[in-house]
């Protein structure tokens, strides 16, 4: 007997949110497993926040269903949902102390006083703010406020934790430290998380899976490496990280390899694709997968020729911008594996850029 697959912990089923004719969220379906950290990534206005607000219960879908742990959330107001949210502005209650902020939700549930005290203490310990219990939010730094907000949203042991731009209000240095700390705390608690962010680095480092959204649609769902290495379309390839996109035509289609002809070169791609010969496609190559040499590489595929237009030294790697014959500017990021290059490249040099047959992705849409 084959066991039927259990339904996902959180199911977002064909959800639509229509704002007087504009579809802010357009037929979105996502399944999220228990314990997962799931990120909704997209630029502002892509519908990610609208979707998050529907999960929290602040607005209701025009159509579609949201099912959490087998329970349909339709019609359930925010204060009855087993879901808590950490707001972008933290939204700490300014008139209450840190411990009162954390205890707020527990009191609403009518938890006995001694248990509340115990839970608050545990939460304060979790976010390492024990000695700040009596302080008011304005007496805390931004990073500390963020941890209070996290403790407050975890205090009720929600089935689902929502994070709205969790690190958006912190400065860059603090963000990197907090990112790791936040994930550690979440994993310690073992709560399922849906986060919203416009920062791809934040999504990449924190989430186990990412959904890329644009104009209310989901363009791709996958693990960070999947999204980065095998983007589903041009938008995703361009949105995540840097990429060199070359338009061309599929001239040879084989099960194990294809050949694409572009203006600057012929691509030999070491895997099959679903397409037909003569089809217009794009080939994407990430800058760090490209190698720069003075000499022409062997063979007739996977290299372009150009002049160095720009060169920026970053210490661990150097970024080259190479002007190709077609006018395209090719971005290359070379690791500085040794301390000196025998033959240093400089502005205006004629060079060849090459890559291996497995480093490109062919995009058909």
């Amino acid at each position: 007997m084959v066991a039927s697959q259990a339904p996902a912990f959180l199911q977002i089923k064909d959800v639509v949110k229509d704002f007087s004719g504009v579809k802010a969220v357009n037929h979105v379906s996502i399944d999220i497993a228990k314990g997962e950290i799931f990120a909704l990534l997209g630029s502002s206005g892509c519908g990610k926040t609208t979707l998050l607000r529907m999960l929290a219960g602040f607005s209701s879908p025009t159509s579609g269903k949201i099912i959490l742990n087998g329970q349909d959330l339709e019609g359930l107001p925010p204060y009855l949902r087993p879901i808590n949210m950490m707001f972008q502005s933290y939204a700490l209650f300014p008139h209450l102390s840190v411990e009162e902020n954390i205890a707020f939700g527990l009191k609403r549930d009518g938890m006995p006083k001694d248990q509340i005290a115990e839970r608050v203490e545990k939460m304060l310990k979790l976010v390492q703010l024990g000695k700040y219990a009596k302080r008011k939010p304005h007496q805390l730094s931004g990073g500390q406020q963020q941890r209070v907000a996290l403790a407050r949203s975890l205090a009720k042991r929600p089935q689902l934790l929502l994070l709205d731009e969790p690190l958006g209000a912190l400065d860059k240095k603090l963000r990197e430290e907090t990112q790791i700390e936040l994930v550690n705390i979440i994993e310690q608690v073992g709560v399922t998380v849906v986060m919203v962010t416009h920062d791809q680095e934040e999504a990449m480092t924190m989430a186990s899976r990412i959904a890329i959204m644009s104009e209310g649609n989901i363009l791709q769902i996958g693990a960070p490496s999947e999204i980065y290495e095998t983007p589903a379309n041009r938008f995703v390839a361009d949105f995540i990280g840097n990429v060199n996109l070359m338009d061309g035509t599929l001239i040879d289609d084989n099960p194990d390899h294809v050949i694409v002809e572009c203006a600057d070169c012929k691509h030999y791609v070491g895997h099959g694709i679903t397409g037909t010969e003569g089809m217009a496609v794009s080939v994407a190559v990430r800058p760090e997968k490209i190698h720069v040499t003075r000499e022409k590489p062997d063979g007739e595929y996977n290299h372009v020729r150009g002049t160095i237009k720009d060169m920026v030294y970053f210490g661990s790697h150097t970024v080259y911008h190479i002007q190709l014959g077609s006018g395209l500017v090719f971005k290359i990021s070379e690791s500085n594996v040794s301390r000196h290059r025998d033959d240093p490249l400089t502005w205006g040099d004629e060079v060849w850029a090459s890559w291996t047959p497995l480093s490109q992705v062919v995009l058909t849409q």
Binding site: P78, Y79, F104, G105, R108, Q144
Partner: protein, 287 residues
């Protein structure tokens, strides 16, 4: 070349001119009040001639039952006006800020604000006409403290709404959402989170409507009945009969009380602000 035009007058002239202008402004505002205070100590019953220093007008005030009962009535009316204005004004402001679309919103907003711009004489007159005919039909309400309170409430409500609305609009809506997200039902959100956060606005609305009611003459004149004369009405009627230093004495007492209240309040607010700024700076440094 610098783009600055050479000043028409020298710096020294500008400085002196600015100071003189400021002094003239202050004189215009406060000389009459200073004169009033000085003349409250005037021994002569004539307001225009100085007859030496005395405190007798203040002594007389102690036994002036008309003035004292007027004062208590004013205080009572002002207290209840302020309380009712803040409560109703809070509801009105809350409705206007939280509900962006409902039938009759524009009309509601206009009606709430109308008393701010409507001449008080018109408001007073129309209220009087209405109350007279209501009384004829129902035998109620008798004109007196109650009707004065109703008139003042009409005005106070408008002011309180404006003050509270401004504060509510500044609130971060995420804070109320956070409360709801944590399990607070809408009424709990209001009483546990919204109200404490707009506390300062409620206090200033209360003080504003209290003073508004305390010194109102026009509405009170229309709405008072026999035996219910507020202090401003007493002062006003006395001034009409001829200026009298006892009125000056009353005014001086009020000025002193108001000054003490204002100075204390500003000092307390400034101290709280400084404290807060220090604590925030300390939190930033500590991180």
């Amino acid at each position: 070349m610098n783009g600055k035009k050479p000043p028409i007058f020298g710096d020294a002239f500008n400085r002196r001119f600015g100071k003189a202008w400021l002094a003239a402004g202050f004189a215009f505002l406060y000389l009459p009040i200073i004169a009033l205070v000085i003349y409250s100590f005037n021994d002569s019953p004539l307001p225009t001639t100085w007859g030496g220093f005395t405190l007798k007008w203040y002594g007389k005030l102690m036994h002036d039952t008309e003035m004292i009962s007027g004062f208590w009535l004013s205080l009572k009316v002002a207290f209840f006006t302020a309380c009712a204005s803040v409560v109703l004004g809070m509801f009105a402001a809350f409705t206007l800020v939280k509900y962006k679309r409902f039938t009759g919103r524009t009309m509601f907003s206009g009606m709430v604000n109308a008393p701010l711009v409507m001449p008080e004489v018109i408001v007073g007159l129309s209220l009087l006409l209405m109350l007279v005919s209501v009384q004829r039909w129902l035998g109620f309400p008798e004109r007196g403290a109650m009707t004065i309170w109703m008139g003042h409430l009409l005005l106070g409500l408008a002011y309180a709404t404006v003050v509270i609305q401004a504060r509510l609009q500044d609130l971060n809506p995420q804070i109320e959402e956070a409360a709801m997200d944590l399990g607070a039902k809408p009424h709990q959100v209001f009483f546990l989170v919204t109200m404490p956060m707009i506390g300062q606005a409620l206090a200033s609305a209360w003080l504003l409507t209290f003073t508004l009611s305390l010194d109102d003459v026009v509405l009170s004149a229309f709405l008072s009945g026999p035996g219910s004369t507020t202090m401003p009405l007493v002062i006003f009627s006395r001034a009409r009969l001829g200026l009298n230093p006892s009125v000056n004495a009353v005014a001086t007492v009020i000025i002193v009380v108001v000054c003490i209240a204002v100075v204390t309040a500003s000092y307390l607010i400034a101290r709280a602000e400084r404290q807060r700024a220090r604590e925030m700076a300390a939190a930033q440094r500590a991180s």
